[in-house]
């Protein structure tokens, strides 16, 4: 045998060996949602693991495993969840009465002790920054728990409970907390069958779901759910068109335009894109320049990059969120007046830096380019700086010397808008370059307001002040689009929330 022959045979053997090793590692059979009781959902989002206490942003697809303590709809209404009722004892203590019929999927009871174990753990996990008010818990009796918290209006506290705390089995927390990352056990209608790290999650509807015969809860219509993570948006669209998956979360507007109405579900967006000014800048500190920029923006045209599926914004939260009110017709662009104001302010021909990040939010890059083009129309040169997602997150915290123009987003998980708004526009807040005592006073009043109607009036009055001052400019609320197979009928329910476990799915 020649040396070359020996080398070739050796290489072939190595290739064969590598294949055998890899095959041995094995991968599960390719599941297909080919019947009425199973669906495949894929998403471009990456999920490192399933422990909701430690991850944020990508949890929407693991919500089937969990039930909320408090249920919130997008209109700001609050309903009992696993917590049946609540009563504020004093400014630092709220007494929670729990449902008595709830069980975890491992058979453990959901009671005051179980909730305390969960709250204690959440307070230990240092990245759980979303818990701003809760400080501890005391068990009163088996189904009553005193929640200890910082002084906080009730809506804020209940929103925090409803959005950020989902209980896990106390047995799992005590005996095997690491397994929360791969197979969390909770009270929801589904349980984990398997989880392949960051790639695929298989869920199965529980036969013993506590809420099966309880009014307002009930069992989901789909028995088996496969969730695939980290799918490229273009490939996700192809998979949808090829009939490989039943739903894709979320379609970009460009991709959504490639499919028919019967293949998409457009839901209220939890976000509003807006423009922030660097108010230490010589020109953007001038109200005339901010007014001119506001007049330069054609909000209807801004919907172009979203193919008309977004909602031009007149305030800092979406029309589906509590506190929104019809403020009349959209402000119209007036280029002539804008140019006059720019000349009056001596800003004609000035160069301004605009910072944005295409990887921060889908669609914000295209929108920012459109905004820049509109501003250039009134005589200001815009120098665009596109930062990567991480640097942009760092940049918007550096409020000492921001660029004159920045486009970013308000994101809302629920009806308690004051928290998000405060951190972005109030004096000295971490993400705010703006300071207006009158706006801060309104925010404070809104936090303390008891009735939804009163809050709405206060928030609208705050918007009047922001409009007068042009401190920030709301631009557009982008669409949130799920792709779906044409034969799948989707009926979103419960206030239009995105949680798919509340949807009725029929094939």
């Amino acid at each position: 045998m020649t040396k070359l022959n020996c080398l070739v045979r050796g290489s072939l053997f190595a290739v064969g060996l590598m294949s055998a090793v890899a095959m041995d590692a094995g991968v599960k059979a390719y599941a297909q949602g080919d019947n009425a009781s199973s669906i495949i959902i894929s998403t471009y989002r990456q999920v490192a693991h399933l422990d909701r206490s430690q991850i944020g942003g990508s949890e929407i697809l693991v919500n089937g495993l969990m039930d909320p303590l408090i249920r919130l709809d997008a209109k700001g209404e609050i309903y009992p969840g696993l917590v049946d009722s609540w009563d504020q004892v004093d400014e630092n203590k709220t007494r929670l009465t729990l449902r008595q019929d709830v069980t975890f999927s491992d058979g453990e009871k959901f009671n005051a002790e179980a909730l305390k174990i969960n709250l204690d753990r959440r307070l230990e996990v240092t990245t759980s920054s979303n818990l701003k008010s809760v400080t501890g818990a005391e068990v009163v009796d088996e189904y009553t728990l005193d929640l200890l918290h910082k002084p906080q209006p009730q809506l804020g506290l209940l929103s925090e409970l409803g959005i950020f705390i989902f209980p896990y089995s106390p047995r799992q927390i005590m005996e095997d907390p690491q397994s929360l990352e791969t197979a969390p056990i909770s009270t929801g209608p589904y349980k984990v069958v398997s989880y392949e790290s960051g790639r695929e999650l298989l869920l199965e509807a529980r036969d013993d779901y506590w809420g099966a015969n309880v009014e307002g809860w009930g069992v989901p219509s789909i028995k088996n759910v496969t969730v695939r993570f980290g799918v490229d948006p273009g490939v996700g669209l192809a998979a949808l068109q090829a009939g490989e998956v039943d739903m894709f979360h979320e379609l970009t507007p460009e991709n959504a335009a490639l499919v028919g109405d019967d293949m998409r579900v457009i839901r209220p967006s939890p976000e509003v894109f807006f423009m922030r000014f660097g108010l230490k800048d010589e020109f953007t500190s001038d109200l005339r320049v901010r007014e001119a920029i506001n007049l330069a923006i054609d909000r209807v045209a801004l919907n172009g990059p979203f193919l008309g599926m977004g909602e031009p914004a007149t305030q800092l939260w979406h029309s589906q969120i509590a506190g929104w009110a019809d403020r009349g017709p959209l402000p119209e662009a007036d280029l002539e007046r804008a140019r006059e104001l720019i000349k009056e302010a001596g800003a004609d021909g000035t160069e301004m830096q605009m910072v944005f990040s295409t990887s921060y939010k889908a669609g914000i890059g295209l929108m920012s380019q459109a905004v820049a083009a509109m501003i250039e129309d009134i005589g200001i040169k815009v120098k665009m700086t596109d930062l990567d997602g991480v640097r942009f997150r760092e940049y918007i915290r550096e409020t000492d010397n921001p660029a004159p123009l920045t486009t970013l987003a308000f994101g809302f998980d629920g009806p308690e808008v004051t928290g998000f708004v405060t951190s972005r526009i109030s004096c000295g807040a971490k993400l705010s370059t703006y300071c207006n005592a009158e706006v801060d006073r309104h925010l404070d009043l809104a936090r303390k307001a008891v009735s939804a109607a009163e809050r709405k009036t206060i928030l609208q009055s705050m918007m009047d002040e922001i409009d007068r001052d042009k401190g920030v400019i709301p631009l557009i609320s982008p669409p949130l689009i799920w792709g779906k197979s044409a034969d799948l009928q989707v009926t979103p329910s419960f206030g239009g929330l995105m949680e798919w476990k509340y949807w009725t799915l029929d094939r």
Binding site: S11, S129, S197, G198, D232, A238, Q241, R393, E394, R424
Partner: protein
């Protein structure tokens, strides 16, 4: 003599690996602060500091580098920032899928690349040679993501022959393996062709023809062996490339290998995982280059003489 050559090359490989580790450590620190992704955007400074301390990112760069080197020497590259798993285990989990994909792509690339290279070399400057050379040049030049998307829309969406992405059956392997094989096919074919053309002009081939041997016999028995050395070099480099994980292809096809792991780690600035993956890639590249050099020395004794 071979032993001396081996010691020389292994020593050089270790120095390269050490320099590579320093570069990886430095470059990952330039990517940004992972704490920005871990905590809420409006989190307090106190929480950010606590998180930084928990991740061991609160020390100076020198301290962090010392810890990194000491741990790496013991084969410990640290835990992933986002998962309670060591980055080494994450790599080992992803490795079988990458090896499988690399093996299939390498087999396709070698078989097709060598075959078309030989065919083209037999009639240089003929229409066949022109076609093969153009195809191999296109293979080397076309971006992988573009080929991948074309194949997805043609084979998966249009014809429905294979799934668009994922893993689990041999059908899932078809498209990523073809996409990965296209570039190596081009380069192997080009090297095979030029090497074969050189050899076909050599005196021993003229002698073989004079003795009345037929072309297939000459090619099989004499020319292929001598033309093989540059092909082995090219093949080794290409296989090393495939084994280190194809970031673009694995991400597009959602293939659960090292490339996809690397892509996710880079998006989330997961330092330990990035360092582990890059260290693996460097190690494989160095080892494959070493093997290629050794096979060179083995196949061609003149190479050994040069190291004296």
């Amino acid at each position: 003599m071979l032993l001396r050559y081996l010691v020389f090359r292994v020593g050089r490989a270790l120095v390269t690996l050490a320099l590579m580790s320093m570069m990886v450590f430095g470059l990952t620190r330039l990517m940004g602060d992972p704490v920005s992704l871990l905590v809420a955007i409006d989190a307090s400074e106190e929480l950010r500091e606590q998180t930084r301390e928990r991740l061991g990112l609160d020390g100076s760069l020198t301290e962090q580098f010392t810890d990194f080197v000491l741990s790496a020497l013991q084969g410990d590259f640290g835990n992933s920032i986002y998962r309670s798993m060591s980055s080494r285990d994450l790599l080992l989990d992803a490795l079988p899928a990458t090896l499988l994909l690399a093996a299939v792509a390498a087999a396709i690339a070698i078989l097709v690349g060598v075959s078309i290279g030989v065919v083209a070399s037999l009639k240089p400057r003929s229409w066949l040679d022109t076609v093969v050379s153009s195809i191999s040049m296109a293979g080397v030049s076309m971006p992988e993501f573009w080929i991948a998307l074309l194949l997805i829309f043609w084979l998966a969406v249009g014809l429905g022959l294979v799934p668009t992405s994922g893993s689990g059956t041999w059908l899932h392997l078809v498209m990523p393996a073809i996409v990965l094989a296209i570039r190596p096919i081009g380069s192997i074919a080009q090297v095979t062709r030029s090497s074969m053309i050189d050899q076909m002009r050599a005196d021993y081939v003229v002698t073989a023809y004079a003795k009345g041997l037929k072309t297939p016999t000459i090619v099989r028995r004499h020319v292929l062996k001598n033309a093989g050395i540059p092909v082995v070099t090219m093949g080794g480099v290409e296989i090393a490339d495939l084994m280190t994980g194809a970031i673009v292809v694995e991400t597009i096809f959602n293939w659960p290998g090292v490339g996809r792991l690397a892509s996710h780690a880079m998006q989330t600035i997961d330092y330990p995982v990035i360092q582990t993956v890059v260290f693996w890639a460097a190690l494989i590249t160095i080892v494959m280059n070493l093997l290629v050099d050794l096979s060179y020395a083995w196949l061609d004794p003149r190479t050994r003489q040069e190291t004296r």
